[in-house]
């Protein structure tokens, strides 16, 4: 941590380190509570990981679903998220999150002009098999955002994400057939919206919020301004930060609070492998998310805590040679595994999971076999056939378009493909034969693939009786050796109290210091994951933190 300078370059009430949902929402909350806020962003654009994602915000029993006539209840919402937590959340954190989430999204809808809408027809992950789960409406998304409203910030915010189709709303995406039908979407409409810079999903959500913060409220935002250290006084209270601007120190004083909303440690490979117990690591998050939360927090004595990493958002995907975003290689999350005519296999050439649902394959990827002292299911290989290639894209490579050199192996038989992939060729041959035997009837007796409506909707093809299952029986066969790809949800983070204040290793809250979003440990959500919960947490705890610092919470 840095010492207080003789002279501060800027003095405010509230500093948001990071400009994703947590940073921007807490700045708005602090401003509206009467404080002077500032946003400091390491990257060249505002938006953070929130600007890279699908922009879903999971809020059970929300107002917008009720407006659509979709029934829900807080009893069901609590039961469902309680199940997802797997017993690894702290009840007081869970309850604070649950009860405040609706208040927070309604606040930003009402006071910040965010045009929320409920996504119909996208079920909860575990629907219908878990008590309290629902068939749709709990995910909030946003209406299209006209980015011209951002003025000079139009070019300093994310126009689109490398991972999410641009300029399409969720309801349109599903009406057009979902991800498996991505080549059949309305690209005339999408192209028109791109030319007009109409943004959707994560970029749209951040557009609404950046407008509210920076344009409407005049909250200053500094890009290319990485915060390097927290500044404390003799009592250990965090009183400001040392950032860098234009290559020089930039000291900013915070009279009421500093929030670390800088994401986790995805781009810090050493930290990630250690904390996540993984032998390898890659990420899809924007560059700059490098564990600043851990470094800066521990320098002032913060407690780091964790939840089990069994069901967090770890994918296995691939890198298309030469593909980059913001100067860094792009790792795609590999959703193809849940599409018909595709499977995953481990080194034995065997399937090990229901490839269509995260909640099934994520824990199984991390399986440790004590007999062999190995993680036998990683890295998996994605295997698909010409049926797949005829119908669905691989990344952004459409049917009929040759795959780039170096991405996939091809062979005329499963056995020959196994040789090329480095998996047991006989195992692969047996696996595909067994899979096909049942897949022709739309069944998967081994892992019950396709039994969750969420998977059907997200990556299924409704031309098939089982939208996620079809045989691999048309050569040539293709295979991609996959690599781990994280999406920003970490098992370790800063311990916080129910006001989002960071907790010291000795148990007391550190005055003046807050942490929200992926910088804060998942004490509210526990060991599980449900799409939209990361955004919900960031908005909710950002709202709580900004208000608490200014005496409103």
């Amino acid at each position: 941590m840095a010492k207080a300078p003789a002279r501060w370059d800027l003095e405010v009430d509230w500093i948001s380190i990071g400009s994703g949902l947590g940073g921007v929402c807490s700045a708005i909350a602090a401003h509206d509570a009467g404080g002077e806020a500032v946003i400091l962003e390491k990257a060249s654009k505002l938006g953070g990981l929130s600007g890279y994602g699908a922009g879903e915000v999971f809020v059970p029993n929300n107002r917008w679903m009720r407006d659509l006539g979709i029934e829900d209840s807080d009893a069901d919402g609590r039961a469902y998220l309680g199940f997802v937590a797997g017993g690894f959340n702290r009840p007081e954190h869970f309850e604070k999150m649950y009860t405040t989430a609706k208040e927070a999204v309604e606040y930003f809808g009402r006071e910040a002009g965010v045009q929320w809408l409920a996504v119909e027809g996208l079920p909860d992950y575990y629907y219908p098999k878990v008590v309290g789960s629902h068939a749709g409406g709990r995910y909030l998304s946003v209406e299209l955002f006209d980015a011209k409203q951002l003025g000079e910030w139009q070019s300093k915010t994310y126009t689109m994400s490398p991972h999410i189709p641009p300029a399409a709303l969720h309801r349109e995406m599903y009406a057009w057939g979902g991800l498996s039908s991505i080549t059949q979407w309305d690209y005339e409409l999408i192209g028109k919206r791109i030319e007009e810079d109409q943004r959707s999903m994560g970029t749209g959500m951040m557009g609404w919020l950046v407008k509210a913060a920076v344009v409407d409220r005049g909250i200053p935002a500094h890009v290319d301004t990485p915060v390097r250290e927290l500044v404390t006084d003799a009592s250990g209270t965090v009183i400001g930060v040392r950032a860098e601007k234009g290559g020089c120190d930039f000291f900013v004083k915070a009279a009421r609070g500093v929030v670390i909303a800088a994401g986790g440690y995805d781009h810090n490979k050493q930290m990630a492998c250690a904390y996540e117990s993984m032998p390898d690591w890659n990420t899809s998050v924007p560059p700059g998310i490098e564990g600043d939360n851990i470094v800066m927090g521990t320098e002032v004595g913060a407690s780091i805590t964790a939840v089990p990493a069994y069901n967090l958002a770890m994918f296995y995907g691939y890198h298309i040679p030469g593909e980059e975003a913001e100067g860094a290689p792009v790792f795609r999350s590999g959703w193809e595994c849940g599409v018909p005519h595709a499977i995953w296999v481990n080194k034995k050439g065997e399937r090990f999971c229901d490839e269509s649902t995260y909640k099934d394959y994520q824990p199984r990827l991390r399986h440790w076999d004590g007999n062999t002292q190995t993680m036998p299911n990683i890295p998996p290989a994605l295997v698909f056939d010409q049926n797949y290639r005829d119908r669905y894209p691989v990344g952004s490579y459409t049917p009929g378009q040759a795959l780039p050199e170096g991405l996939a192996h091809t062979a005329d038989t499963p056995r020959a493909l196994g040789e090329k992939l480095g998996v047991d060729p006989e195992g692969l041959e047996r696996t595909i034969a067994r899979y096909n035997e049942h897949a022709r009837n739309g069944e998967d007796p081994d892992f019950h693939r396709g039994s969750y409506p969420w998977a059907n909707r997200m990556v299924g093809d409704f031309d098939y009786p089982n939208p996620n299952v079809a045989p691999l029986d048309k050569p040539p066969y293709y295979g991609i050796n996959l690599v781990p790809v994280s999406v920003g949800v970490n098992s370790h983070g800063l311990e916080t109290d129910t006001n989002a204040q960071v907790v010291h290793v000795r148990g007391h809250s550190i005055p003046g210091l807050y942490a929200v979003g992926n910088s804060a440990a998942l004490l509210d959500l526990g060991a599980g994951y449900q799409s939209g919960c990361s955004n919900m947490r960031a908005i909710t705890w950002g709202y709580i933190a900004g208000r608490h610092a200014l005496g409103k919470g």
Binding site: M160, P162, G191, G322, E323, E324, P404
Partner: protein
């Protein structure tokens, strides 16, 4: 202009090229398409060589669904001749047509040290030469309208950069550097 090696590296995103014959070459560029930077390979075939005044070519993407073509045209402008107006950028739903014009003031008569300047600045006895670069790119495939929209912000600056770069190179070669 005939020797691609002379000006290939001036192309925005240039990574490599391979001259396969007098008329055919293989190009590797790295280009921005929306939020992504991708390596793009395409085949170029010279369809018309009337150098130095005009070169025309077709291009075809090898790893991306792109097709199109373009031309370089060089003409000398007589003294006092009005400079050509700015190129109009024409757009239609499935193609992008860009035209970039770079002008160089060359003393074509009487020697002396030429200088780069606006064509309007030509004084008595001075002439200008004008390089016009046209490029048409048609994305194919089901996502063509989206690719079209994504290409628009990058294509015209790239075309202008190439035209300006070639003019600067010509000046350097002919000892006419400003």
């Amino acid at each position: 202009m005939k020797k691609i090696d002379n000006w290939a590296p001036l192309v925005t995103g240039y990574r490599a090229h391979e001259q396969q014959s007098e008329t055919d070459s293989l190009w590797t560029l790295k280009g921005d398409i929306g939020a992504l930077a991708r390596v793009i390979q395409f085949q170029v075939h010279i369809t018309e060589w009337n150098g130095p005044s005009r070169v025309a070519f077709d291009l075809k993407g090898l790893n991306e669904p792109l097709a199109g073509g373009g031309s370089f045209e060089m003409r000398a402008c007589g003294s006092g001749e009005a400079a050509t107006g700015p190129a109009a950028s024409r757009s239609n739903p499935v193609s992008r047509f860009f035209e970039a014009i770079a002008r160089s003031l060359l003393r074509l008569f009487g020697g002396g040290a030429p200088r780069r300047a606006a064509a309007d600045d030509a004084g008595p006895g001075e002439s200008t030469a004008e390089l016009r670069f046209r490029l048409e790119v048609n994305p194919g495939g089901p996502m063509a309208p989206m690719l079209n929209a994504l290409m628009k912000p990058v294509m015209l600056p790239a075309a202008e950069q190439l035209a300006d770069g070639i003019v600067a190179k010509l000046e350097e070669i002919h000892g006419t550097k400003a």
